[in-house]
């Protein structure tokens, strides 16, 4: 589980390496020139191959995510209501004004933030516990690791139906005589429960990878010095876990913010439980108002970008894939 940079020569074939050593002063200049040329030819080929290999993926991502985003921005500046197809026209930022002055939108924003913060908090706590069990369990470790993958693998909609029926009056084993999915507070609690249940394993797996990087010797030494398990966790494990923790939090926060499936199945946005994705969907598919829906989409995109920016800049979460990624 060590970082690849510690096991693999990261610099690869560099020009300095190929320049011969131990050659006479006369040949040396010539040798270096030849080596440089060879290296630069190799570099050029490498560069070309790199671009060629990346091109298909880049083209697909640009065409399917980039172009439509630009298109969505354009549509958000237009009146585009499928019920009034002849009334299409450029209206500037009117759609944004409409949305941003709408209490329904702001309500959805607060609901989404509430769901995000509460569910990510519980995911973090339970994910950490599960990670510790998966990492440390003296007995049944394989069993725990296998079973814990089940919520990750189950289709969100399937799990959502399971929770919905569990809380449905009459049918549900958890409902009793009440109908918890008909009032706002309990609906939100169930939505959060469904979200947390499904994503604890993902959080736990990322944290477990971080736990594997904590040196066992250090923990042993601390234990021998009389540090309690609690002290060891707070002073050794947690600080070393920080990079993995931030990546996990970033991923989960962005994911929770986009919550749709669970709400669609559990309440369909009734009892004031709509998230921003839910009301955007309703405006697009139910309302057929493409202008308003697109403007909402753009606003969600901006909010997601802000969250990612805050995580990466403020908390120093290393974007996965960046070579300088904080983990050595």
């Amino acid at each position: 589980m060590s970082h690849p940079a510690t096991t693999v020569d990261p610099s690869g074939p560099g020009p300095g390496r190929e320049a011969g050593t131990g050659v006479g002063p006369h040949d040396e200049a010539e040798g270096i020139a030849i080596a440089r040329k060879r290296a630069s030819d190799g570099k050029k080929a490498e560069r070309r191959l790199g671009w060629m290999l990346c091109a298909p993926a880049v083209i697909v991502m640009a065409a399917v995510a980039g172009y439509p985003l630009v298109y969505a921005i354009w549509m958000s500046l237009n009146r585009a209501d499928l019920r009034l197809p002849d009334d299409n026209q450029f209206i500037g930022f009117s759609n944004y004004v409409t949305i941003l002055s709408s209490p329904i939108w702001w309500h959805a924003v607060w609901i989404t933030l509430l769901i995000t913060v509460v569910s990510v908090f519980f995911e973090l706590v339970f994910g950490m516990l599960l990670a510790l069990v998966m990492h440390r369990a003296l007995v049944g470790r394989g069993l725990v690791r296998t079973v814990a993958l089940i919520p990750y693998a189950i289709v969100t909609v399937v799990a959502a139906f399971s929770w919905r029926y569990a809380f449905e009056q009459g049918t549900g084993w958890l409902a009793g005589d009440s109908a918890p999915l008909t009032s706002q507070g309990s609906s939100l609690a169930i939505i959060i429960l469904a979200e947390v249940w499904k994503t604890i394993p993902f959080m736990a797996l990322l944290l477990m990878a971080g736990l594997a990087l904590v040196p066992e010797d250090l923990l042993k030494a601390a234990a021998m010095d009389g540090a309690s398990p609690w002290q060891r966790f707070w002073t050794i494990t947690l600080p070393m876990l920080k990079p993995a923790l931030l990546v996990a939090l970033l991923f989960r926060t962005l994911d929770a913010f986009r919550i749709f499936d669970n709400i669609f199945v559990l309440t369909a946005g009734n009892n004031d439980t709509s998230s921003v994705s839910m009301i955007t969907y309703n405006n697009l598919i139910g309302g057929l108002n493409l202008g308003i829906g697109s403007a909402m989409s753009v606003l969600i995109f901006v909010m997601v970008a802000i969250i990612a920016f805050l995580f990466i800049k403020l908390f120093g979460a290393a974007a996965p894939g960046s070579d300088s990624g904080g983990r050595k």
């Binding site: 189950i154 289709v155 399937v158 029926y165 449905e168 394993p201 749709f260 969600i300």
Partner: protein, 283 residues
């Protein structure tokens, strides 16, 4: 002096770990068993509110959904669309990941940033433009209409996971192949590809699971059963009857689409764990 392991291995500690294990098993299985239980209850006792089907079991719900072309068609759609999407995403992902893991070229950082951006993309933002574009070019409500967004959103996952695996393959072998006169492409095809297969396989599982899970696109980019996948079709089971919810068929369908992923998880637990942790933390 005792070691950490010894400190933890007293019988009491062992018992405590068993309690933790059991807690995890209960956590993971409670909704699963409940769904299976509902799918097996007879229509007469489906509303008895009991956790287990103690009032009698039957396979009526399963027979009902398999008799219905709405479900069988959706199942074929799910399997076909997800397999094709996985294959394409892997092919493109393998190329890009190889370049990222092994080659040095300008624009690599940009490539990584772009995948990250797509991974963080709010999918809902693409519903309208994709809907408009797909209706314009005539692929709305078809397999390609879903495969295209699935491939796109699977690509970042594929690229991260694969490049993490590729970085662990020893460089020296590739160098040796090049010294023996292999071109960079031959080195890729003959030396690296066979070594990379386990990683590719693992990534395939992760990508398949993520496609299998999609709901939003399946719901928005289809209008008939021509391309509607099971998660979306299930939600239409409910829409058909407003007051009498077809709990039995929905849960039976839920169980059926859960089986393939459960089998994958049980068979390849180690690989899945390695894939998820590699891709995200080592990236």
């Amino acid at each position: 002096m005792t070691t950490l392991a010894e400190l933890n291995s007293t019988p009491g500690k062992k018992a405590a770990w068993w309690v933790a294990d059991i807690a995890v098993v209960i956590y993971a299985l409670i909704p699963v068993i409940w769904t299976i239980s509902l799918s097996l209850k007879t229509p007469g006792n489906i509303n008895d509110g009991k956790y287990l089907p103690t009032g009698g079991m039957s396979f009526e719900s399963y027979q009902a959904i398999f008799k219905d072309t709405v479900f069988t068609r959706a199942l074929i759609n799910s399997i076909g669309i997800c397999l094709i999407s996985t294959a394409i995403a892997l092919l493109l992902g393998v190329f890009a990941a190889y370049a990222i893991a092994r080659l040095d070229f300008p624009g690599k950082k940009l490539m990584i940033m772009m995948s990250l951006l797509v991974a963080m993309f709010p999918q809902i933002a693409l519903i309208t433009p994709l809907f408009k574009i797909e209706t314009a070019i005539g692929i709305f409500d078809t397999w390609p209409g879903l495969i295209i967004p699935y491939v796109t959103f699977a690509l970042p996952l594929a690229i991260y996971t694969l490049s993490a695996f590729f970085r662990e393959i020893p460089w020296e072998l590739e160098k040796a192949a090049k010294m023996d006169g292999a071109t960079p492409f031959q080195a890729f095809k003959d030396v690296i590809a066979p070594l990379a297969l386990p990683g590719v396989f693992t990534t395939a599982i992760l990508v398949f699971i993520s496609c299998w899970n999609d709901f939003l696109y399946a719901l928005s980019l289809t209008s008939t059963s021509a391309a509607r996948t099971v998660p979306a079709a299930m939600s239409y089971f409910t829409g058909a009857t407003t007051y009498e919810v077809p709990v039995g068929p929905i849960t039976a369908a839920a169980v059926v689409i859960t089986i393939p992923v459960l089998v994958l998880v049980l068979l390849f637990q180690r690989r899945i764990v390695a894939g998820l942790t590699n891709g995200a933390v080592k990236g």
